[in-house]
Amino acid sequence: MEDMMKDRVEQLVDYIMKKCLWQFHSRSWDREKQNEGILTKTMQILCEEPVKKETPTDKCYWVDAVYLADAFKSRYSWMATLDKEEIKLLMQELKDRIDYLTIKGSLNAELTDPHY
């Protein structure tokens, strides 16, 4: 079970790291906001929950989230077999992994530069 979850998370990670750019903003505080904003909204879309998009920033996160949710649904047929709780768990694991790859485990020495 754990292995299956890990394997599924890795499939989603692979998609994001190859096809997306939003996770690679240049500073750690931006990466935190991007990962949180886009992956939370993706989870909400997949769980058919309401998504905030009133501010320009939220709307921009939502745009990437819509695209990501569509890609996940069309590429990974197992996605349709999950219930909401399972999706939430999967998306939390995905966020932890993306945070690790792009922030906590990142070797990029510029992430903590206080200026742009």
């Binding site: 745009v63 485990g105 990142s106 070797l107 990029n108 510029e110 742009y116």
Partner: protein
């Protein structure tokens, strides 16, 4: 860390941490070279200087401007006209180059007077141009000429002109990237917010980090206009100086080359709250995703979808023709910065090419994070390579082609590896759907060029084969293809015209009446 040690750089041990191989199971937390550091003495870098990055990469694509260098004539002359950032005003910014021509005597006595005289002369010589960008170089910076004061003096005497000052001398950073940074920040500090634009649409964007290489910007702006979007400014290809002063009024910053222009997007977000949407304009799938996302942002996804459907139907069969002939060919993807990640996965997915190495001359670790994530296993990633490392890598990897700049490209030719110019292109534009097919065609032409095949014979060692007949490109490329592919009615070679940009300039667009009350300034 899976560092790669070049034999030729054994005498420069610091170089080791600048090259890695992405091995099985490696990701960017275990395989990432150092980057954006000063070039190690003894390593003959292929980088440009910070002045070059500011002026020649970012400043000069602005079209309605006199771009003046304050320094020796060589600084500006060396890269004059090697860039192909065209514009729709008869390439004014490419046709003329301006320098104050500092000499030894100015180093001793100062060159501020000379600068002022040059600025006034240039404005008089081109009376229709009222805007200028002014660049510091090493020589003028070292002697402490106050170019801001001179610019202010001229603007006071000639109130109809406006001058932007960029203090980014050659030594102002490890590479041209230091100059990209400086000019981004200088522009937003000095100029953004100075002009109130006329807003003509409900949907307003800045298109940022796009330099109109052989018309790329015009292809993209055509798509945006078809969607009813107002492109307030382009930073900076084919961009207008005054439009770029009004960047603060856009609803969205659509960012293409994050390497050279993310700074201004980040600052626009902090200062004006404008969000930043990173896009990829190269390749069918990334292009479609980008248009769709911009459409979604404004609630006009259907307009984006109409373009995606039409363009894909028209150009996909042509891309597939080339893909069949390029499958499995090995590429060293060695551009300056952002193209290493713009192209790494999509030339693999959509053209079947195998990327065996990526390098960047001036990229930062963030660019390598993107590029290495997008590459397949086994790829050699190099930061700030020197010429010998490039040669050693080519001998080891035996690529069928490399995508790089002019200087390393000519080196590759000497060892009989064809190259395409990743910075200025061969027969661009390469952006957009048709552009992507043009890129595939250029790759095909380079790999299968009959002349290139002849060059593979070393006449100093081998007999010239007299019995072999001349082979055309298609005879060479189709030799091992199945009948099904060669006679396919679904695939076809590129059918577009030589010049696909001129006709865009006179085009009319559908009228999408604005819903909101618009400003008229």
């Amino acid at each position: 860390m899976p560092y790669h040690k070049f034999k030729c750089s054994e005498c420069i041990p610091e170089r080791e941490k600048h090259a890695v191989v992405k091995g099985p199971g490696e990701d960017i937390t275990s395989a990432l070279p150092l980057g954006y550091l000063n070039t190690i003495p003894g390593s003959i870098s292929e980088r440009g200087c910070a002045y070059c990055g500011a002026k020649h990469v970012i400043g000069t694509p602005m079209k309605d401007v006199i771009h003046m260098s304050h320094g020796p004539v060589g600084c500006t002359y060396d890269t004059w006209q090697t860039k192909r950032y065209i514009s729709d005003n008869d390439n004014f910014q490419l046709k003329y180059t301006y320098a104050t021509d500092m000499k030894e005597k100015h180093i001793i006595f100062g060159a501020e007077k000379l600068l002022k005289q040059n600025i006034i002369e240039a404005f008089k010589a081109f009376p229709s141009i009222k805007r200028m960008t002014l660049y510091q170089t090493c020589a003028s910076a070292l002697i402490g000429d106050d170019i801001n004061a001179i610019a202010a003096e001229v603007m006071e005497e000639m109130p109809e002109v406006d001058i932007f000052v960029c203090n980014s001398p050659g030594f102002g950073g490890p590479s041209q990237s230091g100059g990209h940074h400086k000019i981004n920040i200088a522009w937003i500090n000095q100029k953004v917010g100075n002009v109130e634009p006329k807003i003509t649409s409900d949907y307003v964007i800045n298109y940022v980090g796009e330099y109109n290489i052989q018309g790329d910007q015009e292809v993209m702006v055509d798509y945006f206009k078809k969607m009813g979007i107002q492109v307030l400014s382009t930073f900076t290809g084919n961009g207008s100086y005054d439009d770029l002063r009004s960047m603060h009024r856009a609803h969205l910053n659509v960012l293409e080359c994050a390497r050279s222009a993310e700074y201004i997007c980040n600052e626009l977000k902090v200062r004006y709250g404008t969000p930043r949407l990173d896009i990829d304009g190269f390749g069918f799938e990334p292009m479609s995703a980008s248009l769709r996302k911009v459409g979604l942002f404004f609630g006009i996804e259907d307009r984006a979808q109409a373009i995606i459907d039409e363009e894909t139907a028209k150009w996909k069969p042509e891309l597939e023709w080339y893909k069949e002939r390029l499958k499995g060919k090995k590429v060293c993807l060695w551009p300056g910065g952002s193209k290493l990640w713009h192209w790494a996965h999509v030339i693999h997915d959509e053209m079947g090419l195998e990327v065996v190495s990526v390098y960047t001359k001036f990229g930062h670790q963030g660019d390598m994070e993107k590029g290495i994530s997008r590459c397949e296993e086994g790829t050699l990633a190099i930061d700030d390579p020197n010429e010998l490392e490039g040669l050693e890598a080519m001998e080891m990897l035996k690529p069928d082609i490399i995508f790089t700049g002019k200087r390393p490209g000519e080196v590759a030719k000497k060892i009989r590896v064809p190259y395409l110019n990743a910075h200025a292109y061969h027969n661009g534009p390469w952006k957009g759907y048709e552009g992507w097919v043009r890129f595939a065609r250029d790759i095909y032409n380079a790999i299968y060029s009959p002349i290139h095949q002849l060059s593979l014979v070393d006449i100093s060692k081998e007999e010239i084969p007299t019995e072999t007949k001349f082979l055309t490109q298609k005879m060479i490329s189709d030799m091992n293809l199945s009948e099904e592919v060669t006679s396919s009615k679904d695939l076809r070679e590129y059918t577009g015209k030589y010049d696909i940009i001129s006709e865009l300039r006179g085009k009319t667009y559908p009228d999408f009446p604005a819903q909101k009350k618009l400003s008229a300034v």
